[in-house]
């Protein structure tokens, strides 16, 4: 079972630069479509890859969907060689993306995010507009309801202003 707070803490404790995206970000904005994992867009600078590797190491990450006996180490070199990874960890599932379709890399994701305080943590969360863009870009049937909820949520917030 994914422990959202603990997983975020594990990343923040190592100073990993990331933006929460996907279903978790949508839920933080108020969407009511459940999600079972964390998706983040991470900075691919060498320093941040080191921090990310340090954060992931104690979580015993394995590649989701890969054979359990497949040797795998989420170290800096592995992270540098790839871009997007889907991990199972002892704190639950986490997808780490170097690029978000329809939005861009970390720089663009960070620009399209704001800092949110929760559980004593400061977390960057992707904006509603960027989430809508990324979901529309993905073009998946399963995202239909989430897009409609995000658009309605946006309108409700604008009306409140």
């Amino acid at each position: 079972m994914t422990q959202f707070e603990e997983l975020l803490k594990a990343l923040l404790n190592e100073g990993v630069e990331f933006v929460v995206i996907g279903g978790l970000a949508a839920n933080i904005h108020g969407v009511t479509v459940p999600t079972y994992d964390i998706h983040i867009c991470y900075n691919r600078s060498p320093e941040n890859l080191q921090r990310l590797a340090r954060a992931l190491h104690p979580l015993n990450p394995t590649l989701r969907g890969a054979p359990k006996d497949l040797p795998f180490r989420a170290d800096e070199a592995t992270l540098k060689a790839g871009l997007n990874f889907t991990f199972e960890t002892r704190l639950g599932d986490i997808d780490i993306l170097g690029e978000v379709g329809g939005v861009g890399f970390y720089k663009e994701a960070e620009e399209a995010s704001s800092e949110v305080s929760m559980f004593g943590l400061k977390v960057r969360v992707m904006s509603i507009n960027a989430l809508i863009k990324s979901k529309k870009f993905a073009g998946r049937k399963k995202d239909e309801e989430m897009i409609l909820q995000l658009e309605a949520m946006k309108e409700m917030q604008e009306k409140k202003k």
């Binding site: 079972y36 949110v116 559980f119 409609l148 909820q149 658009e151 309605a152 309108e155």
Partner: protein, 74 residues
């Protein structure tokens, strides 16, 4: 102008079957409350999965609850 363009996002969501009152109540929550609600949901889904696995042990390795929740075909 097509109807879609005229209607508001809230109207489109309502027509799709989304309960707008749930979104309104969600908007009244703090970010922490929303995250706790999500965590509770995941915990609940895990319990449902365990119950399902007792009924259908052959499906225990297929996370069908997750796929149903995500709207993907089983």
């Amino acid at each position: 102008m097509p109807k879609d363009k005229q209607s508001s996002a809230i109207e489109r969501a309502r027509e799709y079957g989304i309960d707008i009152s749930l979104l309104e109540s969600s908007l009244r929550m703090t970010v922490e409350q929303r995250l706790r609600r999500l965590q509770d949901w995941v915990k609940f889904a895990e319990e449902v999965k365990k119950a399902r696995n007792q009924l259908y042990p052959d499906l225990s390795e297929n996370d069908s609850i997750r796929r149903v929740a995500e709207g993907s075909p089983q």
